[in-house]
């Protein structure tokens, strides 16, 4: 009873907040609704027993990706009138994409109901692989059965990271702002940064 209740609670909240992501006028509100949607999706995953994936969803998407979204969206200066002006122009494109998505959904569900492709039995029996906890099963799969694919994925990500660094890294002139020498800053003593002056009365100080 509690599980059914929790499922419908999370499911309704995911759908409602996903609708609010596209419906809300303010982009920051959209991002916050998106975070709620992620969070409830994590709740659904806990419900089906995938607690590791659920925690990763919260840590990676809610904890890092959505913060960066929010960071960018917060600093945008948004002209709402201009946003709505583009609505008519992009309307046909939006309808086309929506039609494609709908067709895919209908096709997918239709194919599933016909049952033509045997993709395994989704009856929940196969979920606790190897009769161990989530983390151990995923670890065994990733690092034993699919180690080469996993390593390949790692190398692709590494290449992407190096690419991003190469594209954005610029070596400025040595004394430019932002090129700090931390060691030099730490070595600095009061004697070289300050001077003691004993000004006479009415004469002032020349620096």
């Amino acid at each position: 009873m509690i599980q059914t209740f929790a499922f419908y609670l999370f499911a309704v909240l995911v759908i409602a907040s996903a609708v609010m992501v596209i419906m809300s006028r303010n982009p920051v509100h959209s991002v916050l609704w998106l975070i709620l949607a992620f969070f409830n999706a994590a709740g659904l995953m806990v419900l089906v027993g995938a607690e590791f994936i659920a925690m990763l969803l919260v840590i990676v998407y809610v904890g890092a990706v959505a913060v960066l979204f929010l960071f960018v969206v917060m600093m945008l200066d948004i002209d709402f009138a201009e946003l709505r002006a583009g609505f008519i122009k992009n309307f046909p494109l939006g309808i086309a994409i929506a039609a494609v998505l709908l067709a895919e959904l209908v096709l997918g569900i239709g194919a599933y109901r016909v049952g033509a492709i045997e993709l395994g039995t989704p009856d929940g029996e196969s979920a606790p692989l190897l009769d161990r906890s989530n983390i151990e099963s995923i670890g065994a799969l990733l690092y034993r059965d699919y180690i080469f694919l996993f390593e390949a994925a790692g190398i692709i990500l590494l290449v992407a990271m190096i690419g991003a660094i190469v594209l954005t890294h610029r070596k400025g002139p040595k004394d430019a702002r932002g090129q700090q020498d931390i060691g030099k800053q730490n070595r600095r003593r009061p004697e070289e940064a300050t001077v003691m002056k004993q000004p006479g009365i009415g004469t002032g100080v020349e620096l």
Binding site: I2, L56, V58, I135, Q180
Partner: protein, 351 residues
């Protein structure tokens, strides 16, 4: 506890529900009381280090100072700036406070004394602590004011940076313990050091990890020397500038609940949790929760001590420490510790 309520004649589901609610109250109310008391301790410690007296008027030795402050705050008017984004402005302190309390669900206070004994407990804590940035960011944005906004951006960058290195540090602990369950991690520390010391931290490879974890905890909870989000000399009061009354108090409570959580995590992950420091029979007669709270209190004293002695970092120094020092160091330690554990046959002699 569910069995107890079932023995009163409830069916299983209702008994489970009642037991969970009772458990939440049993944890949340003492945590709130503890927050009130550690704020007093904090102020007393700073006062002692500054050669002042600290709060000493309300109640014996000023013990009731926090309650007097709470009463004062509750009687104030709640002011919502007219240009603020009202919904989010009100939501922000609620998020901070809720998230700060939610993390306590998986904290074990003694062997088996835990509300939710889940096997991804450590990941849960990491997930919840990554949520705590939202309270600050929402408050800063919704206030529609310069300084809170600066503070929110600083908070977002700072907390993401230090979460990365905290994640790697926790991986090192998990490598030693072999589990993400917090009770399991504490149990793995029994007789860890030379068969007598019940703590991970005595290991020469873990001690530097713990030092990094402690400093990252200071940054994660925005304590001095990393309290750039509320740097009063630059940002008035940071993200709390526009808040008054209970909303302000909830930020305050949430902040200290987070600090207490980080202290208790230090104790659980590195210093043996509820186990006595030395594996000696008479020490086990002291209840486990006393050891845990003593260790937590010790770390809280460290937090206050740092606050009273260390000046604030510059923002670029903070970022440098997070990304250029802690991140490579913690990655390096993951490699070294995994190698060491493989070489010593920690993983069942598979090496």
């Amino acid at each position: 506890m569910t069995e107890f309520f079932q023995s009163l004649g409830m069916n299983y589901e209702f008994a489970w529900f009642t037991a969970t609610i009772a458990g939440i109250l049993l944890i949340a109310l003492p945590v709130m009381l503890a927050v009130a008391m550690v704020i007093y301790v904090d102020r007393k410690v700073w006062a002692a280090i500054n050669l002042r007296r600290g709060p000493n008027v309300v109640g014996p030795f000023g013990l009731l100072q926090s309650f007097a402050d709470a009463l004062k705050v509750m009687l104030q008017e709640t002011i919502i700036p007219s240009a603020a984004n009202k919904g989010i402005f009100i939501l922000a302190p609620i998020v901070t406070f809720t998230v700060a309390l939610a993390a306590w669900a998986v904290v074990p206070f003694d062997a088996g004394v835990v509300l939710a004994d889940i096997n991804v407990g450590l990941l849960y804590i990491l997930a919840i602590s990554s949520l705590s940035v939202y309270g600050v960011v929402m408050a800063g944005w919704a206030s529609n004011s310069k300084y809170p906004f600066f503070s929110a951006m600083r908070a977002a960058a700072q907390m993401i940076s230090y979460e990365v290195s905290i994640g790697f540090i926790l991986v090192c602990v998990v490598l030693f313990a072999g589990t993400f369950n917090l009770s399991g991690i504490v149990n793995a520390q029994a007789e860890f050091g030379l068969g007598v010391v019940n703590a991970f931290v005595v290991h020469p490879l873990i001690f530097p990890i713990w030092v990094m974890f402690f400093i990252s905890c200071l940054a994660e909870t925005q304590r001095v020397p990393f309290d750039l989000t509320e740097a009063e000399s630059e940002l008035v009061a940071g993200y709390q500038t526009e808040y008054s009354s209970m909303a302000f108090a909830m930020f305050w409570l949430g902040e200290y609940a987070n600090i207490l959580l980080m202290c208790i995590l230090n104790a659980l992950l590195f210093w043996g949790g509820w186990l006595p420091p030395i594996d000696w029979e008479p020490l086990y007669y002291v209840p486990g929760i006393v050891w845990l709270l003593l260790k937590t209190f010790m770390f809280f004293f460290f937090f206050s001590w740092v606050m009273a002695t260390v000046p604030r970092y510059r923002y670029d120094q903070l970022m440098r420490l997070g990304w250029k020092v802690f991140l490579p160091l913690s990655l390096f330690f993951i490699v070294v510790i995994s190698g060491y554990l493989m070489a010593t046959g920690h993983f069942g002699g598979a090496a």
